[in-house]
Amino acid sequence: MTDLVRKTKTRYTKAETQKIADSIRRQILGIALKTGGCYLAQACSSAEIIASLYTKIMNLGPSAGAWDAIPFPGVPGPDNMDYQHGSLYNGAPAPDKDRFFVSCCHYASVIYCALAATGRISPSALDKFNVDGWNMEMIGAEHSPGFENTAGSLGQTISIAAGTAHARKMKGDTGLVYCLLGDGELQEGQTWECIQTAAYYQLDNFIIIVDANGQQVEGAIEDQMIIEPLEERFCSFGAKCVTCDGHDIDSLVKACRTGHAKKPLVVICRTHGYTGVPPLKEKYPLLHFVRISPEERPVYEKIYEEMGGEGK
């Protein structure tokens, strides 16, 4: 059975990709119900983005990571550099394969669910999510399945991904480097330092995907800081930038295929943190970490049950 599951599927229909997005939402709603709270809105906003990246957009090799969750393999150091890197779940590095950097690392549960839904890790590994002593941490780091690096301090991963793209370009690799960002972290100055540099070095192998869900910890982005107009900003810093409907698989795939000769490509995915789980809209814009109170449980449990039929 495991051999069948583990064989990485490479062609997905739109319906299959949507099914994976639905299953991501359902599983993370399940985690929220089980634990009382989690980054549910991020799953709602990014489910189609991440499902599309894994099934239709990125060119990844089969997972080279352990099938099951593993105990935390230790902090990197002179005596511990051969630990299992989380990036192995996106395939062993190869010149023609793409790479995936996740800057918004509190999306870890979404990544783990996507890995499970695409046969890259055991579905039962999710039982170890946020369990002390395991590698399935709530905020992803070097060793977390699907992660290249430790991205918890916002604004840095885009530069690490760009440096990687720069190196791969010099080496003549044909694979691309993808980097997923949240929109709140576009307030970090380093993001823009990176875009100007990626444009200067003409990194046409670098694709930045922004889950523009319009929310950050303290509320709606527009009530905290000005980040718009995003497309104009990225273009003026020297990138090619396009906007798409982040809940529409066709729109996402088309946007990521936009030509971007001699420039990095930025894809702004307009999304909502309550897509697929309507009652969340009542909590908007305070959706960074969703808690479900005992009184709210019946409503969410009902949605969870309804999702079960088509989600799994």
Binding site: P76, G77, Q156, S159, I160, G163, T164, A167, G189, Q190
Partner: protein, 328 residues
């Protein structure tokens, strides 16, 4: 004393010739950090990153992940104070081989407090996986790149530039985690680093003339700080030890020695000489005297330790002294 000029400029080019994966990154200060010639020699291996150190640091981490060996060149102060989070999360945590070549350490710049890295050793000693080298002369400039390469992890170098004295024989390169013995004795132990070693050499001469037995060691590996030869010398010094450094008096060489004394339960007094606080913009010699990181202050510290009035004045101290010129 022989003065060498632009030693790093030559060494960086020779070093890069041996290691094709070595690349240089600069934040608009390459020409002030002796890599202008590197840029013309290896234009494809020199990356100008603009005046944007945070991105430069994380970008270097990406290059290192792909097998390159980035050597980041800018002023020391911008490589730890401005980008500590990037240094820690992008480079130090994943233990990547990125070398931070920090110029004008401490008060070696007249550029004022914004340019003076007075607590880099103190801050970076608290960063796991990090190795710290503090350069003291031209021979060490010639040796440090190979040592940094061999560490195969994050390394911070407090580098000296332009005219630098050759205090140590060229055929005796610096060694990792080993202090250099410049004088052997048993009364007091002088531990010096960076530009203060030249001052300690001057003081040692005068102290010996007054009949003191002086153990003088130059320290260039600040982290790790586990050199058994320093521990042995602490054990044998009768009156105690004096440290002198081109650094804030908290967190650097003096603090590292204090930890070693305490952790080994040694009954030894320690006088720490370092900068008492933020300096200001002026010449190196003026600042060394003003803030007391000079030979006279070292003599006073030894008097304090031994309880002896050594009657040493400026005249007693060796006249030869290296004075470099002003440049920001």
């Amino acid at each position: 004393m022989k003065i060498e000029v632009n030693t790093h400029e030559r060494c960086m080019i020779e070093f890069a010739a041996k290691h094709p994966e070595v690349v240089v990154l600069s934040a608009d200060l390459g020409s002030s950090c002796e890599v202008k010639k590197f840029r013309s020699t290896y234009p494809d291996r020199y990356f100008t990153m603009g005046i944007a150190e945070q991105n430069m640091c994380s970008w270097a981490a990406g290059l290192a992940r792909e097998g390159y060996r980035p050597f980041i060149h800018t002023f020391s102060v911008f490589l730890y104070r401005r980008i500590l989070d990037q240094l820690e999360m992008s480079v130090a945590y994943p233990n990547l081989p990125v070398v931070f070549v920090g110029f004008v350490p401490g008060i070696t710049t007249p550029g004022g407090v914004s340019h003076q890295s007075i607590n880099d050793v103190g801050v970076l000693r608290t960063v796991p996986n990090m190795t710290i080298f503090d350069i003291g002369d031209a021979t060490e400039i010639e040796g440090v790149l190979d040592l940094a390469y061999e560490r195969n992890g994050p390394v911070f170098i407090r580098m000296l530039r332009k005219e630098v004295p050759r205090l140590f024989p060229a055929e005796e390169p610096m060694q990792f985690n080993r202090a250099r013995v410049l004088s052997e004795g048993e009364d007091v132990l002088l531990l010096s680093s960076s530009i203060c070693t030249e001052e300690a050499i001057r003081a040692t001469g005068a102290l010996k003339e007054k009949g003191l037995s002086v153990q003088h060691m130059h320290v260039s590996t600040m982290k790790p700080f586990t050199d058994p030869t320093i521990l042995d010398s602490l054990r044998k010094c009768r009156y105690g030890a004096v440290t002198i450094e081109n650094h804030y008096e908290i967190g650097g060489l003096g603090s590292a020695v204090a930890e070693m004394i305490a952790e080994n339960g040694l009954d030894r007094r320690l006088v720490k000489i370092g900068l008492p606080g933020y300096p200001h913009g002026a010449s190196k010699m003026y600042l060394m005297k003003k803030y007391g990181i000079d030979a006279m202050h070292l003599v006073r510290a030894v008097e304090q330790l031994t309880g002896k009035d050594l009657k040493i004045t400026e005249d007693y101290l060796l006249e030869e002294r290296f004075v470099d010129y002003l440049e920001v």
